[in-house]
């Protein structure tokens, strides 16, 4: 356990510099989005009301009020989120491959550590998860700040202050910021399974190189297929025999099996089949 934690810390620190960059880019771009959209709205409203001499009452009738929803749809707001997602997706792969790169083969050192090889696997997975959840927390922290900035710029009469659920329901946000704790576990649980399956597929490649890409790909497909089996069977063979609750339970079980399989196979590959 101790060495596992040390490895987690090690993996975390390796990526930390780039992580902080992502955090700052997100903060800066999102705050910029808030300021930009808020000021743009106020400018336009002023142009119409004072420029075209439309009364405020008529303005309110014909134009939509300003809400957080508009900010959340702004490019400047979601590009940093997309960037973070892409970088982390790449790092899911790179966290392994970087140990084989170059003439400094750090993988030797990792494989020769007096610790279960499973800990290498788990530590990398844990680090990735910490990075992901850290960004989720960042977004939750940014919202109240962004709302306050918006309130400073846009006068109250032009705003409708929505409950957070309203504006976090846009397609992409509702996925990364689930509405309830159960949804959180479901969505990120599936993400965790996906990361583990990807890790094991990567290990196939690292163990068998060219052939390994095929093995890994095949393994990935089998995992996905197995996971979808309850749904597919129910849909195509059983003509929707099962109720949604029953399917849900089956899916949770299937997901758990896939997860355990990924870890078990990954451990096996790391212990007996890996090559430097």
């Amino acid at each position: 356990m101790n060495r596992y934690l040390k490895l987690v810390n090690f993996e975390f620190n390796r990526f930390f510099k780039l992580y902080i960059v992502l955090v700052f880019v997100t903060i800066i771009m999102q705050i910029f989005a808030v300021i930009l959209e808020s000021r743009r709205y106020v400018r336009e409203a002023e142009k119409i009301i004072y420029g075209e001499m439309m009364s405020k009452a008529v303005f309110f009738k014909n134009y939509e009020p300003f809400t957080m929803a508009r900010i959340v749809q702004s490019n400047w707001f979601y590009w940093p989120i997309a960037l973070c997602i892409v970088v982390l997706l790449i790092y899911v792969f790179f966290i392994w491959y970087r140990d084989w790169l170059g003439k400094n083969s750090f993988i030797y050192r990792l494989l020769m550590l007096p610790t279960a090889r499973l800990n290498l696997y788990l530590a990398k997975a844990t680090a990735i998860l910490i990075f992901v959840f850290g960004l989720v927390a960042l977004q939750f922290l940014l919202f109240p700040i962004e709302i306050q900035i918006m309130k400073w710029i846009v006068p109250a009469e032009f705003r409708v202050d929505l409950p957070m659920k309203e504006y976090t329901n846009f397609i992409y946000l509702s996925a990364i910021l689930p509405g309830s704790i159960i949804d959180f576990f479901i969505f990120y649980g599936m993400g965790i399974v996906a990361v583990f399956v990807t890790f094991t597929a990567i290990l196939f490649e690292r163990c068998y190189r060219l052939k390994g890409i095929i093995f890994g790909g095949f393994y990935g497909l089998v995992s996905v297929g197995f996971f979808l089996t309850p749904l597919l069977i129910d849909s195509f063979l059983l003509k929707n025999y099962f109720f949604p609750v029953e399917l849900f339970v089956m899916e949770v079980i299937a997901g758990t099996i896939v997860l355990i399989g990924a870890v078990w196979i990954g451990n096996y590959l790391l212990k007996y089949k890996i090559r430097v």
């Binding site: 987690v8 810390n9 975390f12 620190n13 930390f16 910490i130 959840f133 850290g134 989720v136 927390a137 939750f140 922290l141 709302i147 202050d161 929505l162 409950p163 957070m164 659920k165 309203e166 509405g179 309830s180 704790i181 159960i182 949804d183 959180f184 479901i186 003509k239 929707n240 025999y241 099962f242 109720f243 949604p244 609750v245 849900f248």
Partner: protein, 426 residues
């Protein structure tokens, strides 16, 4: 060869100080993450627990009227939370709508007992109450299954009928294709009844743009065949100058209870331009009210010339209630089907908007619904909401009360409640 290393005087590693120093980054990130995400979700669920409880204070009438009455509403607090709730037997229950779980687990309340006792009957079926029929001894189901339309209408659509004897658990199920299915792009099932060994399905058939037909399909259970297809009613095919006709069956209420009759309200609509707001409004320019008798398989028109244009009509046992808003009042006229006579009309005061309130409600219009021959009106008033329950047959008030939030409002400004549905717990 003997070789010795010089001894070091002082240990000067870069590794000075506490070992714990190098963990600070991950610990900080972990703490921030756990606390932030934790408090966020605790806040959302805590808020659902501390949402205001509602209680209904009686002003007059019989509290028994509130028994098993479910009042659904939604409550906004500030700019952070809003939740759905239902008030049932004095308790305010949170309806969690933002989880996938609720979508997965939710079932229309009418199916709860069937789920418990005859779960398998519900499998592979469309769970809309209107497709089902339940009485003490039987369950029946009808569905119109459509092949996906690929390049035009097909004639491979069919009715699926399933009947179960609740005591013996035996089922009979069969499929029937109807000959003219390619004429209709959609068939909605409005009501299913079971009598005399036959399943009777009342449906609305849609063909091309504006044509609606009400059909009665009769299926013989023993023979497993369709034995009758009557067109009961058609809307007018005319659609000019912003005029059209359309009918609604049973006020779009779907129920699986046995019923002798079905109510069909045929209305003509007219689009008009509002002079002031320049908005196009739709007005009801005419209405005809029909009652269908399932046993006799006969459609009867109700003569309601006296009552004028009807906005809504509802059916309870063997009484039809016609509703119209006249000025600030809701006028309800009951019609007894068996005797074919009209009863005394009732008038209920329902202000259109509430003026004397600091409720600041966005939805300041009153909520009115008719259920089982009673009328329920919820209206925003000064310090809460008035609840009025009246008997449509007699026009008398059965219960009057006030719905108040039990604790202090969270935020004077942005606190809004509105009610959207009333049901009876089955």
């Amino acid at each position: 060869m003997d070789w010795k290393l010089p001894t070091k005087i002082q240990n000067q590693g870069l590794m000075g100080g506490s070992r714990m120093k190098k963990y600070w980054k991950i610990v900080v990130v972990l703490i921030i993450t756990v606390i932030t995400i934790g408090t966020h979700y605790i806040r959302t669920s805590y808020a659902s627990q501390t949402m205001p409880e509602f209680e209904i204070k009686k002003i007059s009438g019989d509290e028994k009227e509130l028994q098993n009455l479910i009042i659904y509403g939604e409550y906004n607090v500030g700019d952070f939370l809003y939740y759905s709730f239902k008030i049932l037997n004095g308790k305010t229950i949170n309806i969690n709508q933002d989880s996938i779980i609720s979508e997965i687990v939710e079932l229309p309340s009418q199916f709860e007992t069937i789920m418990k006792e005859h779960k398998n009957f519900l499998r592979q079926k469309v769970l809309i109450p209107g497709n089902f029929y339940e009485d003490e001894g039987w369950l029946a189901y009808a569905e119109y299954e459509m092949e996906p339309l690929v390049g035009g209408l097909t004639n491979r659509n069919k009715f699926i009928i399933d009947v179960m004897n609740k005591k013996t658990n035996e089922t009979v199920d069969f499929e029937v294709a109807i000959p003219d299915s390619e004429n209709y792009y959609m068939i909605d099932i409005n009501d299913v009844q079971l009598m005399n060994g036959k399943v009777k399905v009342l449906a609305t058939n849609y063909s091309d743009e504006e044509s609606e037909e009400a059909h009665l399909y009769v299926f013989d259970i023993k023979e497993k065949k369709l034995i009758r297809d009557d067109v009961i009613l058609k809307n007018s095919e005319d659609r000019e100058n912003g005029k059209w006709t359309s009918f609604s069956i049973n006020n779009d209420n779907f129920s699986l209870k046995p019923s002798e009759y079905a109510l069909i309200l045929l209305q003509s609509f007219q689009e008009e331009m509002n002079e002031n707001s320049k908005d196009v409004e739709t007005k009801i320019s005419g209405s005809e009210c029909y009652v269908y008798n399932f046993e006799k398989e006969v459609l009867e028109k109700i003569n309601n010339e006296e009552q004028g244009v009807v906005e809504t009509a509802s059916l309870h046992n063997s009484t039809v209630f016609l509703q119209s808003m006249i000025d600030d009042r809701l006028e309800v006229v009951p019609y007894d089907i068996e005797t074919g006579t009209w009863r005394e009309k009732s008038l209920f005061n329902v202000p259109q908007t509430s003026r004397n309130t600091d409720n600041g409600d966005l939805h300041a219009e009153p909520f009115i619904t008719v259920l089982n021959g009673k009328i329920y009106i919820i209206n925003a008033i000064d310090d809460g909401y008035s609840l009025f329950i009246g008997d449509l047959s007699t026009g008398k008030s059965l219960y009057e009360g006030k719905i108040v939030a039990k604790h202090k409002k969270v935020d004077q400004y942005n606190d809004k409640t509105y009610f959207r549905l009333i049901e009876l717990k089955s």
